[in-house]
């Protein structure tokens, strides 16, 4: 019995000891990564260019093309083993100038309201549309009011993001259906237009745009849809209580053009030992056409580029092939993400891991992993290596939109999780600008991503998802 106990204890401590050996080397390497990112980082300079010299990068726009060329050139400057563009056809939606809206209570009283057409919205008639307004708290309210009360009106979706949810992405997820499907649903009841309360906790004056769908609604039935600021939503809601007959005028001049050619930008350091095993790190190069897309997702783009630059600067030669992929068209189509995954499938490329940064350039808090049980068990052993950098969250859950199409029964997907409290202050609005980027926060994110990829490259992954941890 004693002997058994001894072996039992030894059986427990031996792997711990071996892990400790590993950890010391890994600790030192990770320290070097953070030091380089913080002392001699490039991400902030790249983002400054992308945001201030180029600006917003809606798919199909001239700016998007300039961003493609700029980032390709910068990747080429790094001396990677390969840099190339992957052609992808993307939708081209144009907002058009002079969007306008006002609320009218009587013949002489108008209050201007700032609107931003949702991405993909049809235009109003050339001289705008004017109608009474019905406020609802969500799509589920439409059936309750029915065609009788909705027909001929503008539907005002006003369910706010919940403040008592700690992770703001969760609160966003609970409300985004109003923006995404509100117009398609309201049109079924004969609404003539839709306005949506902006998806942010803050009370401010920025309309926040975003994607929407008409699903299979015939073109003739499609109605225009726009975001209004939270302050205007509060105002309009109060006004409608006092004067339910108030009317809203809105004018949108958007156009959906033919698809145009654009590109994913890809760079690679080819692996020294397992060149046919791929690790992807990326963000999306396109943004909405408001602000300059610094947080969404300029930050993710430059952090991903920085991962490969840091390996180069540190003289770290990965065993596996590391690819940075700057995806085009995450915001209104995901064409780039789908196209990349298609290519992987066609070429039978063996992707073992993909990491996306698309949650803003704020202080990194950790990662969310879409992984099998044994894979996650392996990942969790790395957690303590990140604690000196105040990275504590190793959760299981979603990863990133662009890398989603890579999912199969062996790859591990992950998303960088940044502090989420300020993200929706900026998201998809004129308030997403470079001045709201903190250099250190951005750099810490890049270092955190690089450290994780270093570990994945070094140790690889158990390649079978959704199995139980093997018994000791």
């Amino acid at each position: 019995m004693k002997k058994f106990l001894f072996l039992f204890l030894f059986g427990i401590t031996a792997p711990g000891f071996s892990q400790e050996q590993t950890s010391t080397e890994d600790s030192l390497e990770i320290r070097k990564i953070y030091d380089m990112a913080l002392l001699n980082g490039q991400a902030y300079n790249w983002l400054e260019h992308l945001s201030l010299k180029i600006g917003p990068r809606l798919s199909g726009s001239l700016n998007a093309q300039r961003a493609v060329e700029y980032t390709r050139n910068e990747l080429e400057e790094l001396g990677l083993d390969k840099v190339w563009l992957q052609s992808v056809m993307v939708p081209k939606w144009v907002r058009g100038a002079k969007e306008r809206a006002y609320v009218q209570t009587d013949a002489t009283t108008r209050r201007e309201i700032k609107i931003a057409a949702l991405g993909g919205s049809v235009s109003t008639p050339a001289n705008g549309t004017k109608a009474g307004v019905i406020e609802v708290q969500g799509i589920e309210d439409l059936a309750r009011y029915g065609e009788k009360e909705i027909k001929g009106k503008i539907v005002f979706f006003n369910r706010p993001m919940r403040a008592d949810v700690i992770n703001t992405f969760e609160a966003y997820g609970e409300c985004v259906d109003q923006r995404y499907a509100g117009a398609a649903e309201a049109a079924k009841y004969g609404a003539t237009g839709v306005i949506v309360r902006s998806l942010t906790h803050r009370l401010d004056d920025f309309p926040h745009t975003g994607s929407m769908t008409y699903n299979d609604l015939p073109v003739s039935k499609r109605i225009p849809a726009a975001a209004i600021s939270t302050n205007d939503a509060e105002y309009l809601s109060s006004l409608l209580k006092l004067d339910p007959t108030a009317e809203l005028y809105m004018k949108i001049n958007s156009r959906q053009m033919e698809d145009v050619e654009s590109f994913n930008v890809i760079g690679e350091i080819t692996g020294s030992e397992f060149p046919n095993e791929y690790i992807v790190v990326g963000g999306h190069l396109d943004s909405w056409d408001l602000g300059d897309g610094s947080h969404d997702d300029g930050a993710g783009v430059v952090q991903s580029m920085e991962v490969l630059r840091l390996f180069r600067e540190l003289g770290y030669k990965p065993k596996r092939s590391i690819r940075v992929v700057l995806f085009m068209n995450e915001e209104n189509g995901l064409r780039g993400g789908n196209k990349y995954a298609e290519m992987v499938k066609q070429n039978k490329e063996n992707h073992i891991f993909a990491l996306e940064s698309d949650a803003g350039g704020f202080t990194p808090r950790g990662f969310s992993f879409d992984a099998g049980d044994s894979q996650f068990a392996q990942i969790e052993k790395w957690k303590s290596l990140f604690e000196p950098y105040l990275i504590h969250q190793f959760d299981r859950g979603g990863s990133g939109a662009d890398i989603g199409p890579l999912k199969n029964n062996s790859i591990v997907l992950a998303g960088l999780r940044a502090d989420s409290q300020r993200y929706f202050d900026h998201h998809h609005s004129d308030n997403d600008t470079f001045e709201h980027i903190n250099k250190r926060e951005l750099e810490l994110g890049a270092a955190t991503m690089t450290s994780l990829i270093y570990l994945v490259d070094k140790y690889g992954f158990n390649r079978i998802r959704n199995v139980e941890e093997p018994k000791m």
Copy 2:
């Protein structure tokens, strides 16, 4: 052997089980605290008033007095059991108008530099002082250059905060001696003035002031000292390499006045079971005279007030007496903190715990505890209750300047630890303003503080510090 093993396992699991019982109730209570803070918080409104209606609150100023009156009134509105002012004499230093500096390279070329006299600095002669500049990387450099090279010159302390330190307060701690003691030390070598690179990682145009000391230097030997922005420091350093004979002109019109009466503002909910055991929560009401002191430490003030308001709103009746103390004169004297501790000693009040928030109103990450071993072991058991709120740091270390004087051999002290990355972007400068406060981050801090105080109130503390954890 089997029986022994059974008891052994039972001995481990039993306390766990009992803790779990407690945790469920505590989890629910803490959830209520966060919900109330986020859905119906008052901290942000209070801070808006303190920052925008009152503004900077340097000790001895009219604004400081207005802040005393405002916060006393607001605490009275909460219907606490007691609200009072504690008189304390504070230093009154006045910056004076028209600080000015420029760098002169030849008779016709001047470049203006923005300066901010350090708090407590003497003025220059009425028409300013002009001298050559010697750049040093710290106080330790002074002896190396010696009187020969320093006498008659302005010493330029230019050691930057290290970027590779993750916690920015640590990087600050490594540099602050230049600001605090630079003038006193440089004067010993015959310098005529001192300028100090602002203590921030950012390259920007804000001079960041802060406290300084002349130690026991006779009045006649004291030399003026000012902060310059990091951008100007970079410029000046480059210039001096090209032209070591460049001269700096500086003019400061500060005055040290007689001490004046001011106040700590104190509110109390008297304990229902142990009214003679006190728990203190506080921040400091004074600020520097630049910006509006939103992060330093308006945030800590309103978060501390919010702790008591949340208890009131939730109908939670503490067993122990909970005091909010808004300390006066943390920045340039600590008179309020010392005065409060004196009173505690005189009245033999039994203080078991004090918590200060003075690290900015950013996303809370946890606490730093100044506690004995067994006390900290008790505290660590609470850690998991905070994880749903993404609070992961329960460290041992310092607490807060104002509560430091309360230290004895039984009290536990703690400081709220907020995300530190942006703190020094704002600290002691015109950039510390209300627009840089995020409502949710501020409220999460208040809820985190309230939750900890709820636990301390409920369970009390082992009252002996620095003993080993009792054996099981």
